[in-house]
């Protein structure tokens, strides 16, 4: 038991050191993994790469659209489930959460093939956004439902007793209390959407290459310090969102 703190330090090092090392070497002057001095050249290279810039915009756009849609639908769903549980909805959401990404991606691809065959719908931004809404939903529902479960049901009942309509009670009593939870859910949905590679790469069209897709392609080709630079930016950006989300969840 006395060794526990030392062990924990080692475990935290294991969890965080690889990313820290990556961040440090993203500022390396050399192309190789030998430290040759501080430099921002890989960041400059990243910011002047048209393909990377376009992919980043695509990812931000997809992330924003999927976040808005998934958060709206998921928060409403959590509210409905809080009023009264629904077995099949909860079961399907749980199942979607543990469905291997490759299976979800393949099944969505099969659906979109049908959509193309029968409705002429091609793969593109819209199919990526739909896929992202799908896999973000369960996370939103879980986070918002967790928030609702800490709330006192009698508050809404009191509003109803005092003559508020159901909609007014929701709008004026429940929603303000729920807002931080919804905000946290939205931030988490965005981070999941922004990071996805497996499903996205299967349902993306020619015009909807995302940042993870470009990174994946570069990383597979071999060592490239530009990936270190972008990775560092992603980790810090998403890390910030997550810290805000966790703060919101605690308020």
């Amino acid at each position: 038991m006395r060794l526990l703190p030392a062990y924990a330090a080692a475990a935290f090092l294991f969890l965080h050191l690889p990313l820290l090392v990556l961040a440090v070497f993203s500022f390396n002057e050399s192309r190789f993994t030998v430290w040759e001095g501080f430099s921002l050249r890989w960041y400059r290279a990243a910011f002047s790469d048209a393909q990377l810039i376009e992919a980043t915009w695509n990812s931000l756009l997809i992330g924003a659209a999927a976040t808005v849609l998934a958060t709206a639908a998921g928060a409403l769903c959590a509210y409905g489930l809080w009023k009264r549980a629904s077995r099949w909805l909860s079961a399907s959401l749980s199942l979607s959460l543990v469905t291997p990404e490759i299976v979800m991606g393949i099944s969505l691809l099969a659906l979109f093939q049908w959509a193309f065959r029968f409705l002429g719908v091609r793969l593109g931004m819209h199919t990526v956004i739909l896929a992202h809404v799908m896999f973000c939903l369960a996370y939103v529902v879980i986070v918002v439902l967790a928030r609702l479960r800490t709330m006192d049901r009698s508050l809404e009942e009191a509003a109803l007793d005092l003559g508020a309509t159901e909609w007014q009670a929701f709008r004026r009593v429940t929603l303000p209390l729920l807002a931080p939870g919804v905000g946290a859910a939205a931030l988490l949905a965005f981070t999941i959407s922004f990071d996805d590679y497996v499903i996205t790469s299967l349902v993306a069209g020619v015009d909807s290459e995302t940042l993870p897709m470009v990174l994946y392609a570069i990383a597979r080709r071999g060592a490239n310090p530009v990936v270190n630079a972008i990775s560092t930016l992603i980790v810090f950006g998403l890390g910030l969102l997550i810290l805000i989300a966790e703060r919101l969840r605690e308020t």
Partner: protein
């Protein structure tokens, strides 16, 4: 009241129906069809794709995927348990420690996998450092093997193990530990006879939360295993790309789904509450 609830559930229900359940139903249909000449599917109906799952060639890959997932889960459990115990017992500061676990939990999985490529490849940091120090003459083959895949899976999914373990350990009544100590139990005995039995629900939940994504993993084996490690996730992807055998790929997908569902149901039955 019911009308409002119905309106609230409708958007999610329709998304689930059209974008989750319908696609799985299409896959189920595909499993019963014959492969098309250029990908896709065609008639006649057949159950051959399901029979092929039992072909020794594929059973080996399925077995290997199980083994990799199982080993990764066990390592996560061994590494995660003491960490969760530490956080649960670290008093008011435990929120900081929890942050440090949650942060990588949500941070880019792709980047976290890439970080290990950066460390492990022939020209990576570890090999460069060892070469520079003169410890080795040739770079060690650290990347593109099952060891690297398991390392990547453990690294990726360790937080999935720590968080449920922490949740049960945090609820553990400290007076039970004092009682054990008062009755003369040594620390190790307290862990084995008191803490572990009481944290079984967390162990079960954490193990499944790690095992399930490891079983269907695609990204980690692809990046850290290179082309040299074929696990079921890669096999499924191959059927829809190079092998152009959609019906068999669909059967593989639903086979994995069936295993996942069985595991999930066993967990829900034992814990008497779902993930939601």
């Amino acid at each position: 009241m019911n009308r409002l609830r119905a309106w609230c559930l409708a958007p999610t229900a329709s998304v689930l129906l059209t974008l989750y359940l319908a696609p799985l139903a299409i896959l189920l249909l595909y499993t019963l069809l014959t492969r098309g000449a250029y990908g896709g599917t065609s008639l006649p109906w057949t159950i051959e794709n399901w029979q092929r799952l039992l072909d020794p060639l594929y059973l080996v890959i399925l077995g290997r995927s199980f083994a990799v997932a199982l080993v990764s889960t066990l390592i996560c459990l061994l590494l995660g348990f003491p960490l969760a115990l530490f956080i649960a017992r670290s008093g008011p500061r435990r929120h900081i420690w929890l942050y440090l676990v949650i942060l990588p939990f949500w941070t880019s999985f792709l980047v976290r996998t890439y970080a290990w490529m950066f460390l492990l490849r022939d020209t990576g940091l570890i090999n460069s450092a060892l070469l520079a120090l003169g410890i080795i003459q040739e770079p060690l083959p650290l990347l593109y093997n099952y060891g690297a895949v398991i390392l990547g899976l453990v690294y990726g999914y360790l937080p999935f193990m720590v968080l449920p373990l922490y949740a049960t350990l945090e609820r553990l009544d400290p007076s039970l530990l004092e009682a054990a100590a008062d009755l003369g139990a040594r620390p190790w005995q307290t862990i084995r006879r008191v803490i572990i039995p009481l944290s079984l629900p967390g162990i079960r939940a954490g193990s499944l939360l790690v095992f399930i994504p490891c079983l269907g993993a695609y990204l980690t084996p692809d990046l850290l295993g290179g082309g040299k490690t074929i696990l079921v996730g890669t096999l499924i992807q191959n059927q829809f790309t190079s092998a152009r055998d959609w019906p068999f790929g669909a059967a593989l997908s639903l086979g994995v789904m069936a295993v996942v569902m069985l595991l999930l149901m066993s967990l829900i039955r034992r814990q008497d509450e779902g993930v939601l």
